[in-house]
Amino acid sequence: MSAAELGALNARELRNAERRHRWYLFGSGLPALLLVLLTFVLPIGWLFWLSLFDANGQLTTENYTRLLEPIYILTFVQTFKISVIVTLVCVAVGYPYAYFMIKGPRWLSNLAMALLLVSLWTSLLVRTYAWLIILQRRGIANDLLMSLGITDAPLALVHNLTGTVIGMVHIMLPFMILPLFAAMKSIDPIYNQAAATFGASPARAFRDVFLPLSLPGLAAGATLVFVITLGFYVTPALLGGGKVQMISMRIESDVSMYANWGAASSLGVVLLVTTLLILFIVKKSAGLGRRSE
């Protein structure tokens, strides 16, 4: 066999190996692909399909025009308002929490992480009911506030917006802190040292160097919290006491009380589209897609 023939033979074999490798990759990804198709793409497609029909099975746009009624607009506004509040509180609480996990002594950092994970691993329902008990009229929170003399009469801490926000913030905090912690952990302390040698006080170094470098983590956490909060159901339903209406609760009542799948579906579609829109905007503006070094 000549050298040229051998080269051609090798080229053919290498091409075959490449093809086999591609099929292998495709094959190993296939089950997951099918699962996503089955559990995600199909139901959402079906949801969208349902939203185009009224209760009698007639093709209609009324499911969407109805969303312009004040009661629905109000629900949307309230949902976004709550999401914004919960996200802001999560940022305000989560940023210092993550910062002290990074900068604090090791044992404190480990303790903080353990508390966070225990909270994350506890059932959502358990945590929500726990807040119900803590925040009720004669609950621990009111007892404490009164014994400290901060208030004379028990405050209404639950079955309203306050209780809803407290419960949701607690449940969403890990989603804020964990990405933030990961981002902060990857910031080399040498940058702060460098800033210091060039004359930056610790506060100035934080502002000029640490904070900007932690922003991608902050954006990731805030987006996660905001998006999950948009579709939150259990906690606002239990802690809101009927005074807090979020989209998810409207969907639930449309289905279980009125059996109106079309109306519920249109709400779901709008919520999904809004969420995707927000993700898109955040990705574009905060540069989350840009890979930092």
Partner: protein, 360 residues
């Protein structure tokens, strides 16, 4: 002289000690660095050289001792009030700022006007020959470019003291050698006091006015490159600086004996513990046994190694002693190179004959 004083500052370190548990990273270190001097701290990892630099920068707080910059006590000053320039091993360029913002940062902190900042940044970048990259992102730069930007940032505010922590170690050999010469020229031009940490003895020899060799938290010898190389204080320094073999010698009847013969050109120092003869490859010559100005070492060739600019001939002197002799690769010389197994006589000139003791 007064001009010089404006640009640089002396550093006085006295009895500086830093312990981590029972480990002494700095063990009673005292050192005076003259204003405008280029001083290298040379040592292997764990010798305390980086700890000493970090103590100067203010990131390591000593347990005892004093650090004075131009006579002013610095031990209690936080890093941001020490007003030193610093170059880090990993450069530590801020990834969220571009080249201009990075170099401008020290000036911004010092409240310079916008126009002044732009002019000084441009000057500093011109000095490292990268003024064309002013708007680039840090991620778009090569290792060598980053190194120069870090240098520009460290000198842009004309610090009187410049600290450098192995700034060239990440570069390849050729670039490193170019940068060594550039740093030296820059130091001559700007005149600030430089403390330069390195584990590369060749780098230290190339650049420094003086070198402090450190090990186990102590300074073992501090001297000019020439003296350090030619007159090492002890065996540790002799082996650490340059490629050298230290061959055991004995003291007998007021003479230094090697291979059963007295060494000429050295006077034995009484009380020298474990004396040894320092032999460096470039100091040796092939001689005949009766050469008058040379001490003769007898052995046979075990290997001839081609290294490009020179050839290294390894020679077994018996009793487990091995030395190497370096010959430049010149056609006229190579004809006279022996081959493996040959018995040879090596000559060490009387002026190059040096006997040192162990430390202590």
């Amino acid at each position: 002289m007064s001009e010089e004083h404006k640009l640089s500052m002396s550093i006085d370190i006295e009895n500086l000690t830093k312990t981590y548990g029972s480990f002494a990273a700095l063990d009673d270190v005292s050192l005076s660095i003259k204003s405008g001097e280029f001083l290298s701290l040379l040592g292997s990892s764990g010798s305390g050289k980086t700890t000493l630099l970090m103590a100067l920068a203010g990131f390591v707080s000593p347990n005892a001792g004093s650090i004075r910059f131009g006579g002013r006590e610095m031990v209690f000053e936080p890093p941001h009030k020490r007003d030193v320039g610093m170059m880090f091993q990993s450069y530590a360029l801020f990834p969220h700022m571009n080249v201009f913002q990075n170099v401008a940062y020290p000036l911004k902190l010092r409240g310079y006007s916008r126009a002044d900042i732009r002019q000084r940044v441009q000057q500093a970048l011109a000095m490292v020959e990268l003024d064309n990259l002013i708007e680039r992102n840090i991620t778009e730069l090569s290792g060598g470019q980053r190194q120069r930007i870090a240098l520009a940032r460290a000198i842009v505010f004309e610090p009187k003291i410049l600290l450098m922590d192995e700034p060239l170690s990440a570069l390849d050999k050729r670039l490193r050698e170019t940068m060594q010469l550039e740093l030296r020229r820059l130091h001559e031009r700007l005149g600030m006091t430089v403390v330069y940490v390195t584990h590369d003895q060749r780098e230290a020899l190339t650049m420094s006015d003086r070198i402090a060799v450190m090990s186990k938290g102590k300074i073992r010898q501090i001297d000019t490159p020439v003296n350090l190389y030619e007159r090492p204080a002890n065996r540790f320094i002799a082996e650490f600086v340059g490629e050298s073999s230290c061959l055991p010698v004995t003291l007998q009847d007021g003479q230094v004996m090697f291979q059963g013969r007295p060494l000429r050109g050295v006077t034995p120092v009484a009380g020298l513990s474990k004396p040894s003869l320092v032999v460096r490859p470039e100091k040796l010559q092939f001689v005949t046994a009766d050469a008058s100005d040379y001490n003769c070492l007898h052995g046979h060739v075990t290997d001839v190694i081609f290294q490009g600019e020179s050839q290294l001939v390894q020679i077994d002197l018996g009793e487990g002693m091995v030395v190497a002799i370096r010959r430049p690769t010149r056609s006229s010389e190579n004809n006279r190179l022996p081959s493996r197994g040959d018995a040879v006589v090596l000559g060490l000139h009387l002026k190059d004959t040096l006997v040192v003791g162990d430390e202590q």
